[in-house]
């Protein structure tokens, strides 16, 4: 038996029995260390006859590769075995809770403003804003509600001065005037915001939210108003069918004016929008009064259009089954967490308004 074959057999069987890393390292240095068997054999190459040297070198190289491969394999086996051995005892109780964190929520009013904005964005409306403090002119007179007009009685107003010129806006309609005064027609805007009335009981809060809508162009008529609001109501309540009733009413700043009712029924103690034979008033609207256009420096002979105002809090109550308006503003963390929305729930058209 050749010397090389002997080494091979001896060490293959030795390696086969090796079980731990330490022993493997020993064998590795026995073979390939500075004075290792294989290393020494290579050193001896020069002393071998030239005619045999080539063959011997080839055999030696072959042996070296073979042994190294076996060692490498063994090495991996041992390491895997060690990891597997550790894993056997490495158990934790995954049912234990993790570290503390807080989940934030978005208020229903904000969520509904985003929903409504998304809906109107789809049909070309942009968002305008106006100040919470208004003067008498923008809140009333410019809106065709002169002093001593009984319609003012319907707006219990908070005043900021004795002369009653400065006040908290009682509706978002002053934004109509401000928007028209600072721009040129056409106008196609919505204006969500805080509004204030001196009224406080179970169903009234001294502050609430409105959404104003205004569309002025050369030939916008009441049919467009109807179409726009149908679209809105259907989208907002996310129903296929919707029953809507336009009922004549009166607002000084629109003519003809209408109030809009939606059909609903109560099913299993919950309100169901779009079906049933009960009516619920949800918004006021109409064709912008020529006097309002004049006050806003828009020529009523050339331009016309519609305006509407919706109660945002009321929309939120109807859609999300919230009963108590006053709870909206009481900041009870239990209420906020119950009715609030995940911040990642951004209402969009493509993902749907709500989950």
């Amino acid at each position: 038996m050749s010397e090389i074959k002997k080494i091979k057999e001896e060490y293959i069987s030795k390696l086969d029995k090796v079980l731990d890393q330490h022993k493997l390292n020993e064998i590795k240095s026995e073979l390939f260390g500075k004075n290792g068997i294989i290393s020494n054999k290579f050193k001896q190459l020069s002393s071998i006859n030239e005619d045999k040297r080539k063959e011997f070198a080839s055999e030696l190289n072959f042996l070296k590769n073979e042994l190294q491969e076996v060692i490498l394999k063994k090495n991996e086996d041992i390491q895997n075995q060690e990891i597997n051995k550790k894993l056997k005892d490495d158990n934790i109780d995954v049912t234990l809770p993790g570290r503390s964190y807080f989940s934030g929520k978005i208020h229903p009013v904000s969520q509904v403003i985003d929903e409504v904005t998304s809906i109107f964005s789809e049909i070309g409306f942009s968002v305008e804003e106006g100040p919470d403090v208004e003067n008498e002119y923008y809140n009333f007179s410019a809106l065709n509600t002169p002093e001593n007009h009984p319609a003012r009685d319907m707006h219990d107003t908070f005043y900021l001065d004795r002369s009653k010129d400065l006040l908290l806006r009682t509706h978002t309609s002053p934004v109509q005037i401000r928007t028209m005064l600072k721009g040129k027609p056409p106008f196609k805007i919505i204006a969500p915001g805080r509004t204030y009335r001196h009224d406080s009981d179970q169903t009234h809060s001294p502050m609430f939210h409105q959404l104003e809508g205004l569309h002025i162009d050369k030939s916008i008529n009441m049919g467009h108003l109807k179409g726009c609001l149908y679209y809105f109501v259907k989208k907002f309540f996310e129903v296929d069918k919707v029953k809507i009733r336009f009922r004549p009413s009166h607002f000084p700043f629109t003519e003809p004016s209408a109030e809009v009712d939606i059909g609903y029924k109560i099913q299993d103690g919950k309100i169901k929008i779009g079906e049933g034979d009960k009516w619920l008033e949800i918004l006021g609207c109409g064709m912008v009064h020529p006097n309002v256009l004049k006050n806003a420096k828009v020529n009523p002979k050339q331009y016309q259009g519609y305006a509407f105002g919706v109660g945002i809090d009321r929309l939120a109550m109807l859609k999300y089954g919230i009963n108590d308006l006053r709870a909206f503003f009481e900041s009870d963390i239990r209420w906020l967490e119950f009715y609030g929305f995940d911040p990642l729930d951004v209402p969009t058209n493509y993902r749907g308004l709500s989950r």
């Binding site: 009984p150 502050m207 609030g340």
Partner: protein, 800 residues
């Protein structure tokens, strides 16, 4: 405005039933708010006879009655009325009936130990009179026992909400006219009144000509030898159905005519008038006692009805007690007048009086209805109370302000979206009382005197649309074209930052824009608080100048409910002045209590300033403001802990203020009784956020990654305590902006082994070469530069 089907039918010939009428009313803009249907319940009230009435064994003031309720049924009823006696016919309400006055449902109940099956009713309980004493005594016979007491059951009262532009519908006739116009019947002609009026009115009437005179026309009729009395049944029932109490025939008649024709009348006891009626402006200080039993002191220039002795009443608002009619009144003066709406409104606002007459005059009563009112009032009074009437005295005149309106047929369809034939226009407007002159394209329209709201073509268009029906308006699907972007930059920031803050664990609150001045002052730098003239309550008396005021109130409520670990925020306006536009949009966020409470994996840990700093910094980063541009300094507001708060500003410490953060001042926490010692907060001033001129993608540099290894080296200095970590980091970064990628503080220490006034600070510096691998020499060079710079500038010593 309240009416009923039968009352409407006095003016409207119609076959429509009440459901059709109610539906139509709403369709034409006379919104039915309520239908009080009494039939089912009222049918339960029946005629009964008290067979035997004896004292209640356990109560002196109560009686135990055996009552025959018909069909051979006898029941036992406990009754408190003194007039309950054997043989009396009365009104019986069985268990289950609802008492009209109180809306309470009767039950079989034990009263002082004895079961009472139902009740014997008083007129008060049945809402028929104000008489609370005793039960109703009926003049009936045995055969009536068991009959329904209420004859008119099935009659519904209809409560209609009348918009302020429709004074004409504050009378039943106006409502009937609208119904007729809409095709639901014919408006009946008013019956003509023929009364002998031979007497001369002995009371002279005059309207003083003076500036601001509130009375346009004053008409009067003198009726002699009346016998005032309780109103007949039909009239009483009408008055009660209006929710009013019957007083006497004369008063009830004036109210009846007012509700029937929207024509307020007033009756004076003529014998109490001192010689003549003079309508004049009041003089400051004049006073009188009004029919609501209150004394009013008048200011200058209020419209007063006076006689030689002084004020009798306020024209069109309220009469006075001095000249009021009584059951004993013998001679009366009946007034039918026209008062100007603006004067009525002004006076009633100042004196805070609201009456049915005032409500009508301020909206506009038909100035042409003076005579009509006198005729109807007079003839009813003579019918019921007898007497002899004088000729009418009508003084004054009101200018007819109606204008002829040009209506173009085309304009109707342009506004409303559907077309209407000229013949329809004619039919509808005529039925509403307009006079028309038709030509092909234009129609000239004169509105009736009772419609002060119709002044221009758009008013006519509304009338036509309303009567035709809003359901005729077509539905035009909305177009999708945008005129401009949905949101402007500020609005985008608003919506983004709102969700950015919420995503860090804060729950959004929406609180009122007003707050308690005592609390707001703690968080305010305003010289003057922004007070409301008429706050809803004394603890909501100012506009907030900080979001903290209401957030603290909210936190307190929650903490007192044992929800101590809170993260709340609000985004919205705070106010800097009381003029439009003097407001800022801010975010206020607070954390109270602990980040973690005792649990198996974490130590208990309070929220701290570095939590809140991280939240606000991350929010600003997410908004697109690079950390490098945000300068942290310790500028502070008075409501923060002086040593644990800071300012984030843009570019430099004197740049635009982006946000404040820190611990809320301990004295404020104590004052507010928050029951925690740990309240932290941040405020972002959204209006100060920079408006990006470019999109983020445009401002980003080219993406370059270095293939060369980065190197991290540690340094530790002992340094004067006055140097903040931020200053040291900036100092080091500036040494080689290209190479030094990051400086991270990993230890700050004060105490043993460090001299007082000094601190040890340790940080590591990350070097990221761009063009070559750093040699030991390169690293050594930078390290030396770092050490020498820090030492030279701060006087620090290297720590070994």
């Amino acid at each position: 405005m309240i009416t009923s089907l039968s009352w409407l039918k006095n003016h409207l010939a119609t076959k429509a039933n009440s459901n059709q009428i109610v539906e139509r009313l709403t369709e034409i803009g006379l919104e039915v708010e309520n239908i009080r249907s009494s039939n089912v319940n009222l049918d339960k009230f029946i005629v009964c006879k008290i067979l035997k009435s004896q004292k209640h064994p356990n109560a002196d003031k109560l009686k135990l009655c055996e009552v025959d309720i018909g069909s051979g049924n006898l029941v036992k009823v406990v009754c408190g009325a003194q007039n309950a006696r054997d043989g009396l016919f009365a009104v019986y309400a069985p268990p289950g009936a609802i008492i009209p006055k109180t809306n309470l449902k009767l039950k079989v109940a034990k009263i002082r130990g004895i079961e009472s099956h139902g009740m014997l009713c008083s007129g008060y309980e049945l809402d028929e009179s104000s008489d609370k004493e005793g039960i109703i005594e009926l003049n009936k016979k045995e055969k009536n026992i068991g009959e329904k007491y209420f004859k008119n059951t099935g009659e519904k009262t209809i409560d209609i909400s009348i918009t302020p532009n429709r004074p004409d519908c504050l009378g039943v006739r106006g409502i009937a006219r609208d119904l007729a116009s809409s095709g639901l019947g014919q408006l009946k002609k008013l019956s003509s009144i023929k009364t002998n009026q031979k007497l001369k009115n002995p009371i002279k009437i005059s309207i003083k000509k003076e500036k601001g005179q509130g009375c346009g026309i004053f008409g009067g009729v003198y009726i002699k030898n009346v016998q005032n009395k309780e109103s007949p049944d039909w009239l009483k029932k009408k008055i009660i159905s209006l929710g009013l109490n019957p007083v006497s025939a004369i008063v009830d008649i004036t109210n009846y005519v007012m509700f029937d024709l929207n024509r307020p009348l007033h009756a004076y006891d003529a014998d109490k008038i001192d010689r003549e009626i003079i309508v004049r402006n009041s003089v400051n200080g004049e006073s009188f006692e009004a029919l609501d039993n209150k004394k009013y002191t008048l200011q200058n220039n209020m419209c007063a009805i006076t006689d030689k002795s002084g004020i009798l009443g306020l024209g069109g608002i309220i009469g006075g007690t001095r000249s009021s009619t009584e059951l004993s009144t013998k001679n009366i003066l009946l007034e039918s007048a026209y008062f100007f709406p603006s004067q009525i409104r002004k006076t009633s606002k100042i004196l805070n009086i609201d009456t049915d007459a005032k409500y009508r005059f301020e909206r506009g009563v038909d100035p042409e209805s003076i005579k009509l009112g006198l005729e109807f009032g007079m003839s009813l009074i003579i019918d019921i109370c007898g007497g002899e009437a004088s000729k009418f005295s009508i003084v004054g005149k009101v200018k007819d302000e109606r204008k002829i309106i040009d209506l173009e047929t085309e304009r109707f369809s342009k506004v409303v979206g559907f077309s209407i034939k000229n013949s329809e226009i004619k039919k509808i407007l005529t039925s509403l009382g307009c006079s028309l002159k038709m030509s092909e394209k234009k129609i000239k329209v004169l509105p009736p005197t009772w419609r002060p709201d119709i002044v221009e073509d758009i008013d006519l268009i509304e009338e036509l649309t309303r009567i035709k029906g809003y359901d005729k308006v077509p539905l035009i699907n909305p177009g999708k074209e945008n005129i401009k972007d949905t949101l402007n930059n500020k609005q985008k920031i608003f919506h983004f930052v709102q969700r950015s803050v919420a995503s860090k664990g804060y729950t959004e609150a929406v609180t009122w824009s007003f707050t308690d001045s005592k609390i707001d002052n703690l968080f305010s730098e305003l010289k003057n608080e922004i007070r409301l003239s008429n706050p809803i309550s004394s603890d909501l008396d100012v506009l907030r100048s900080s979001l903290y005021s209401n957030l603290m109130i909210s936190a307190k409520k929650n903490i007192h409910r044992n929800f101590e670990d809170l993260m709340l925020f609000e985004i919205g306006p705070v106010f800097t002045g009381n003029k439009p536009g003097e407001q800022l949009t801010m975010i206020g966020a607070i954390k109270t209590g602990k980040h973690s409470r005792k649990n198996w994996i974490e130590k208990e840990r309070n929220f701290d300033v570095y939590d809140i700093k991280n939240d606000v910094l991350r929010t600003l980063n997410e908004l697109g403001i690079n950390s490098d541009k945000i300068i942290v300094s310790n500028k502070k507001k008075k409501w923060y802990h002086p040593g644990r708060s800071g300012l984030l500003s843009l570019g430099s410490s004197s740049g635009p203020e982006l946000a404040y953060f820190g611990e809320i001042h301990p004295l404020i926490i104590k004052k507010l009784d928050l029951r925690t010692d740990n309240v932290l907060g941040f405020e972002i001033i959204l209006d100060n956020l920079p408006e990006p001129r470019k999109k983020i993608r445009e401002t980003k540099p080219r993406f370059i990654v270095s293939d060369y290894q980065k190197v991290v080296r540690d340094f530790a200095f002992v340094i004067d305590d006055k140097y903040s970590s931020g200053e040291i980091i900036n100092l080091v970064k500036k040494i080689d902006k290209e190479l030094i990628k990051n400086v991270r503080i990993f230890d700050v220490y004060k105490g043993d082994n460090i001299a007082s006034g000094k601190k040890s600070i340790a940080f590591n510096v990350t070097l990221e070469p761009k063009d070559k691998t750093l040699s030991d020499n390169d690293i050594e060079k930078v390290s030396k530069k770092i050490i020498s710079t820090v030492q030279d500038i701060t006087g620090a010593t290297l720590r070994s």
